[in-house]
């Protein structure tokens, strides 16, 4: 039996050494170590061996089993490594070939910028309000202290649907619609389409405005300055100078226009800023008492500020867009840049 074990061992080891295929190696494992394998057979035969010889023979048989198992494992490792080597060569990619890109969608720049501005003001506690594009003259003008014979109504830039009904020329009518609904505190921002009869490189008959209104007890011009300076720093980034200068709007007083140092020349003077170093970015002011009167707000108790800006202009300035036309042509070569 000892001789048989030795023959089995050397035969098996020789055979395993010669195998170069994982499948055959597995067959070989079954042949020797499987349930009906040769080593298993010998181990089963131990039952017939005498009691004195059994421990020694058992030990010998187990040693042979272990030697064959080790040889099989070692061979498996070798063959697997070789197979993987072959696979890596076969599957090597050409890194220079382009990947399969998903085609991302793009937000149009105007709503994209409007969303961003909404977010800045929402952080400060404002919420969004909206109103209709087609408005009555009352909300668009009269309620905003701009009666029919007011000089500010002279400009022939209003689209009319019929007498008394216009395409809103600004988002300000929403101020009155909001104030009619609730008493202060009111803190709203209003993104929306507005319309004026004007069309050239810097004017579009439809454009996009952003309005803000805060009314509460004790709201001051200093609050207006602080709010808009915070906004401009968030939108344009730090390092821009901001200038408030007096202006006139019928529905605010005191009123201001706000400039930032030119985004192109950093204030040195260039064509974009007409060599002034400043770019006008928004209009604002303290809500006019006449507007409060229309809203049935107590002017002695409450004060407020309002502001309005062109989202188109803010987008054009920050992204160096030369003509407002790009924003509304919807050329995909433009849209896909943002």
């Amino acid at each position: 039996m000892k001789a048989a074990l030795e023959a089995l061992e050397s035969g098996a080891l020789d055979e395993i050494a010669g195998i170069d295929d994982l499948k055959i190696l597995e067959e070989s494992r079954v042949k020797y170590l499987g349930r009906n394998g040769q080593v298993t057979g010998i181990l089963r035969g131990l039952a017939t061996v005498s009691a004195e010889e059994r421990p020694a023979m058992g030990q010998a048989a187990n040693r042979v089993k272990q030697a064959i198992a080790d040889a099989l494992d070692a061979k498996k490792d070798t063959l697997e490594a070789a197979a993987f080597e072959k696979q890596t060569t076969a599957e090597a990619v050409d890194l220079s070939l382009p990947g399969r890109r998903p085609r991302p969608g793009h937000a149009h720049l105007i709503p994209q910028v409007a969303d961003e501005i909404v977010d800045i003001f929402r952080e400060l506690g404002f919420q969004v309000a909206t109103g209709p594009d087609i408005e009555t003259e009352y909300y668009n003008f009269d309620a905003l202290n701009t009666p029919a014979d007011h000089p500010a109504r002279d400009s022939h830039d209003t689209f009319f649907v019929k007498p008394g009904v216009v395409l809103r020329t600004h988002t300000s009518p929403v101020q009155m619609r909001v104030m009619e609904k609730v008493q202060p505190p009111v803190a709203v921002v209003v993104p929306g389409r507005v319309y004026r009869v004007d069309y050239d490189a810097s004017h579009s008959p439809m454009f996009y405005q952003f309005e803000g209104l805060l009314v509460d007890e004790g709201v001051s011009f200093a609050d207006l300055k602080g709010t808009l300076m915070h906004f401009l720093e968030r939108y344009f980034g730090p390092g821009h100078k901001v200038r408030f200068r007096p202006h006139f709007f019928p529905f605010t007083e005191p009123s201001a226009e706000v400039d930032i140092s030119c985004t192109m020349c950093k204030g040195a003077g260039c064509r974009v800023c007409k060599h002034s170093g400043w770019l006008e970015v928004l209009g604002c002011g303290m809500v006019h008492p006449e507007v409060f009167k229309h809203a049935n707000y107590d002017y002695e108790k409450y004060s407020g500020f309002a502001f309005g800006m062109g989202v188109d202009r803010l987008a054009m300035l920050r992204h160096a867009i030369s003509s407002i036309g790009h924003l509304y042509e919807n050329d995909l070569r433009f849209l896909e840049q943002f």
Partner: protein
């Protein structure tokens, strides 16, 4: 408005203030500066020269050779092409080394063989007007050899100022000077108006009758005889040129000058051409017409105020004179008008006649009835000085309706509260006093002021606070962040869901487009819109026919978008638009506005890649996006065949939610594709969003993750071609009981073996129980029920 610095300095001392500081201050006071011009900045070494001799050029007919004394040791020899000068004339002369506007340098050169040592200049060459006909002949009293630049007013700085509509009182040299004088606390000097009136009293020469005092609150006039019409002196011409105006004759120039100086419009009539030599201020009569100074005949309406003589209308009050009584070279006696007209009336008439003038712009902003007096005296004094006029004794001053003097009270604490910046009560009062407001009563807390009549913009406390803010300086105002108390009311409940929807669609690979909301009848028809949608909200004054209406649908815009981009080489289109559409269905005085979603797909869906062929978008790509969108919105919809004209029959569906059709989608109709000149393999969708976004989506509720494995079984059945495959899935779901968790339609198969008009539909059925692992028997029972249902309802046979 062009404001000349040299001119401004006649009224206020601006010594020690640089141009830069002055520009900054004007800006910070609200005088918006659009541009700063220095017309003579480039002019160097141009002197007053005297022509000593003029000789013909030996070799050129059109050139003469002059000797000109520019104050140097020797006269210069200068060749010149002009003809208008004579020996002894003084002309601006650029010597060798001089520069002219545009950086033009003067060198020594030869003209047809003759040396030329400089250039004698025309007005245009110096940037003075357009006169290029000949040399600019200077007044004889200009000293030879003097620098011509200051003498010609070319050392000036021009501020181009935008005056806001509330500040009519700023629209003049004195108006701007008054503001600066107040700010810098320096005196304002108004030129004196010395008159040597003749013995003849004006009352014997003319009379004024105001029939409509509510439209003409004040009317003043003077009569000037022996007026010698001719060119204005150089100083007057320079002033007008600096303001951007062309000199005409001394009488006209003086009224224009006084308008620029005082902001008050005047009108001069030829006295001899006024019937009965008298003035009637009245409303126009029905059917009356006037030929205005611009040569146009204009019909007048009875609500328009006119200035008439004893017979007929001579002038549209405050807007433009008539050509009949215009001052001409033959005029010898002038009736000069200075009046105050109702701003609203002037605006209305100016609008109705579509006639805007310097005069109408000033009256409609509100003129100053006090300034009317000064302007008349100033013009009379200048005519006396410049035109040699004899001024008749006295002036007419009809003042039937003096403007009430306004009183406004300022509370110092209110000012500080509104500005959020403490400004001393003394500073507050000081600002207003400097601006011409006078104190009526005051105590520690408040102060009541008289408002100067020129300040039409001031009628309440806030107006005073604004003045204080301007003078204190917006840049010196405090800065704070308000403690915002948000309102509990939700004003735009749809804003957030709309935004989430847009971002969902972008995440699906669609690009957002944002169109003008205009449309036109032709595009609506080309797009095959239903007749109801072709009835759109129309604009009375559209930019053009193409933008004549407000869109009723997003589809025409998307079709134009496709045409625009395909024409520019776009290979594929995958875009959406979320935006309003409008309908002439009126509610609360306004047409209806709804929010719609549009989608457009065309061309390869995955772009081109070296690894394989591109797949083109088709109907099911669009339907899949729609299903995903509806699922995002939490909406259950069904789809029904539609006959909408935009789409190809058979690939044309309605989107139904509840019983309501909320949208349509499909493949574009060949006729529509042809009308827009685009490839017909294009898929379009439009969905009304308002009702879908406003259905508040319930908060998602957790359902337990199954503990027991699902049992998946396939079922392939053969049915008639006419049976919609989707109906089988719906029926299976209905018959499958609570154990059936999902039905997936995974294959459609047709073959000769199945027979013509037949198809096989394969469903994958997934069964699962919450409390146990299903046995084959459990599953089979449900499977049999489903098959039976399909057999009964759709004559399906198991394949």
């Amino acid at each position: 408005m062009r404001v000349s610095l040299n001119w401004l300095k006649e009224y206020v001392n601006l010594d020690g203030i640089s141009v830069e500081d002055l520009a900054h201050r004007m800006t910070m006071l609200g005088l918006e500066i659009e541009a700063i011009e220095e017309p003579g900045a480039e002019i160097q070494q141009v002197y007053v020269g005297e022509i000593l001799s003029i000789e013909p050029h030996p070799d050129a007919d059109k050139i003469v050779v002059c000797k000109t004394n520019t104050g140097g040791p020797e006269a210069l020899q200068i060749c010149c092409g002009a003809k208008n000068m004579k020996v002894g004339d003084k002309v601006p002369t650029a010597i060798v080394g001089a520069t002219l506007p545009g950086g033009f340098a003067i060198g020594r050169r030869k003209m047809r063989g003759i040396e030329s040592e400089g250039m004698m200049c025309s007005g245009k060459e110096l940037g003075l007007g357009d006169d290029h006909a000949g040399l600019l002949i200077l007044p004889p009293d200009f000293p030879v050899g003097a620098d011509a630049k200051p003498l010609l007013g070319l050392d000036d700085v021009i501020f181009e100022i935008e005056v806001t509509p509330n500040r009519g009182d700023w629209a003049s040299m004195i108006g701007v000077a008054r503001e600066l004088a107040a700010y810098y606390n320096r005196p304002l000097s108004i030129p004196a108006t010395p008159l040597n009136e003749s013995a003849e009293a004006i009352t014997g020469l003319t009379s004024v009758c105001i029939e409509n005092p509510e439209l003409c609150g004040r009317y003043l006039g003077r009569v000037m005889k022996n007026v010698q019409v001719g060119p204005s002196p150089q100083w007057l011409q320079s002033r007008l040129q600096a303001a951007g105006q062309r000199p005409i004759n001394n009488v006209v120039d003086i009224t224009n000058f006084v308008l620029l100086e005082t902001g008050h419009p005047l009108h001069g009539f030829d006295y001899d051409l006024l019937a009965e030599h008298r003035i009637v201020v009245r409303a126009a009569k029905a059917g009356e017409k006037i030929t205005t100074l611009d040569g146009q005949e204009r019909p007048l309406a009875t609500d328009m105020l006119v200035i008439a003589d004893g017979a007929k209308t001579q002038c549209v009050a405050g807007i433009m004179g008539g050509s009949h009584s215009e001052v001409s070279e033959n005029t010898t006696t002038v009736f000069l008008e200075s009046a105050w007209f109702n701003p609203a009336s002037v605006r209305k008439t100016s609008r109705a006649l579509q006639l805007i003038s310097e005069s109408s712009q000033r009256f409609q902003r509100g003129a100053d009835p006090e300034m009317a007096v000064y302007a008349l005296e100033r013009a009379a004094a200048l005519m006396q000085e410049i035109c040699g006029a004899t001024v008749a004794r006295g002036a007419i001053d009809q003042h039937p309706l003096p403007l009430p003097r306004k009183q406004v009270t300022l509370r110092h604490a209110r000012c500080n509260a509104l500005l959020g910046t403490p400004i001393d009560a003394e500073e507050q009062k000081d600002v207003l006093v400097r601006l011409g407001f006078s104190i009526l009563v005051e105590d520690a807390a408040s102060c009541t002021f008289h408002v100067p009549p020129r300040r039409h913009d001031v009628s309440m406390e806030t107006d005073l606070i604004e003045e204080i803010a301007r003078f204190h300086g917006y840049d010196r105002m405090d800065v704070s962040l308000p403690a915002v108390r948000p309102s509990a009311h939700v004003f735009a409940p749809q804003y957030q869901p709309e935004r989430a929807l847009r971002h969902f669609l972008i995440a699906q690979g669609l690009t957002e487009v944002f169109h003008w909301t205009f449309c036109n009848a032709q595009d609506a028809e080309k797009a095959g819109l239903a007749p109801a949608l072709r009835d759109m909200v129309a604009l009375e004054n559209p930019l053009s026919e193409k933008q004549g209406t407000m869109r009723s649908s997003l589809l025409p815009g998307l079709l134009n978008h496709a045409a625009y981009n395909l024409n520019r080489g776009a290979a594929s289109l995958a875009v959406f638009e979320v935006g309003p559409v409008y309908a002439p269905v009126w509610k609360n005085d306004l047409p209806t506005q709804e929010l719609h979603l549009g989608m457009l797909l065309h061309g390869p869906s995955n772009g081109t890649h070296w690894s394989g062929a591109a797949k083109s978008y088709d109907f099911y790509d669009l339907k899949g996006l729609l299903e995903a969108t509806l699922s995002h919105l939490g909406v259950d919809a069904t789809f029904e065949p539609s006959t909408a004209g935009t789409f190809q029959p058979g690939q044309n569906a309605s989107i139904v939610v509840g019983k309501q059709i909320v949208g349509t989608f499909g493949k574009v109709h060949l006729a529509v594709a042809k009308a827009f000149d685009i490839d017909p393999n294009l898929y379009l969708l439009e969905l009304a969003l308002d009702s879908l976004l406003s259905q508040a989506k319930p908060h998602g509720q957790f359902s337990a993750i199954p503990t027991f494995p699902p049992s998946k079984r396939d079922m392939a059945v053969v049915v008639d071609e006419a049976v919609p495959a989707g109906a089988l899935a719906v029926a299976a779901r209905a018959a499958g009981g609570s154990l059936l968790k999902s039905v997936e339609l995974f294959d459609i198969y047709r073959s000769e073996g199945l027979g013509a008009g037949k198809k096989s539909v394969a469903l994958n059925l997934s069964f699962q129980a919450d409390d146990k692992t299903l046995t084959d028997n459990d599953t089979q029972k449900q499977w049999d029920k489903i098959l039976k249902k399909l057999q009964t309802d759709y004559q399906a046979t198991l394949r």
